[in-house]
Amino acid sequence: MHELSIAASIVEIVERSIPAEPAVPVLRVSIRVGRLAGVVNDSLEFCFSAVTSGTRLDGATLAIESVPVTLRCGECGKTSVIDDIAFTCPSCASPGVSLETGTELQVTEVEIADPPSGEQA
């Protein structure tokens, strides 16, 4: 359910970050989503296509970069990517780990179309 408000926030951030004129279409929006961000990608894609309808983002691709959960161990210093979400170091079993990656939820990049020929961007 909250994918809808996330999709709306993404559109808002994109619209604020691109030049207002010329009002060329947005072709692609790239986002980074950590595994612990609590976002269901399919649901976000569906909501994105719904909230972009009729805007400059209509038809834009939502490119989702999924970020794994990475732990850094305070004991042995190793950084490990984990599949099963357990917050202990896979190398030395210490619970003294900090989360390096996995909670990201960011808009990273936008690709916009060229203005029609004869206009300068």
Binding site: M1, H2, V14, L36, G38, P95, Q106, E111
Partner: protein
């Protein structure tokens, strides 16, 4: 075509409002907690037991979040404490702007502990900072002792775990020790309480701990 690099957090607006909320309650020396759980774990029942024990010792107020109805606010209002209801109308979690608006309806100078009862949901509320001092996650024994492993983000982001409905343990296969060790494997820093809202067991320990935390805070004006 041209590519524009943005690098902006999707929830930056929420985070900014949450920061302002946090500053506002801190200025008034209020300890604000964000009470989260799945539906039916016993958030409102715990809150009622808390109000009974705390309201005559420390000024306490409540912000109630629900998808529909103000039934929970009605339950809370019986205790004669200030309470503001937020109805999200389908929204699966509270957001910082809703809490900001609710704060405007409370007399902050007269509050020491503020309980924000979130919408029952173990997924979405973990990502939305409301401006609270910390999150309190309630897991009831009847939900199964593997809950923390299924919803790691929520247990990772909480500071306190309340294992509720311990009076039902003799009748069910789930084990409170397993639930606790699963939660601590996700977040070793959790402070854990075990409670029953039916017998009242463990509620005093939780309330005393909370009051001690609140008493340590000072208003800056």
């Amino acid at each position: 075509m041209s590519v524009i690099t943005i690098e902006r957090k999707v929830l930056e607006k929420n985070d900014e409002i949450a920061r302002l909320n946090r500053e506002l309650v801190a200025r008034h020396g209020i300890l604000a907690l964000n009470l989260v759980s799945s539906p039916g774990a016993g958030k409102t029942s715990i809150l009622e037991r808390m109000l009974e024990r705390i309201k005559d010792r420390v000024p306490i107020a409540v912000i109630e979040g629900d998808v529909q109805t103000d039934l929970d606010a009605q339950r809370v209002a019986r205790y004669g404490v200030p309470a503001v209801q937020i109805v999200t109308r389908g929204g699966c979690h509270l957001e910082a702007n809703l809490v900001r608006d609710a704060l405007a309806g409370l007399n902050l100078a007269d509050i020491k502990i503020l309980v924000i009862e979130n919408v029952g949901n173990l997924v979405c509320p973990s990502n939305y900072d409301l401006g609270e001092a910390f999150k309190v996650v309630v897991a009831s024994t009847t939900e199964g002792d593997d809950k923390p492993l299924k919803y790691p983000a929520m247990f990772r982001n909480a500071s306190v775990l309340i294992i509720n409905k311990i009076d039902l343990l003799p009748y069910i296969s789930s084990n409170a020790d397993t639930l606790q060790s699963n939660a601590l494997s996700i977040n070793p820093a959790l402070t854990v309480f075990r409670t029953s809202c039916t017998t009242g067991e463990g509620i005093d320990a939780w309330c005393d701990w909370l009051i001690a935390r609140a008493s340590a805070l000072k208003a800056s004006r």
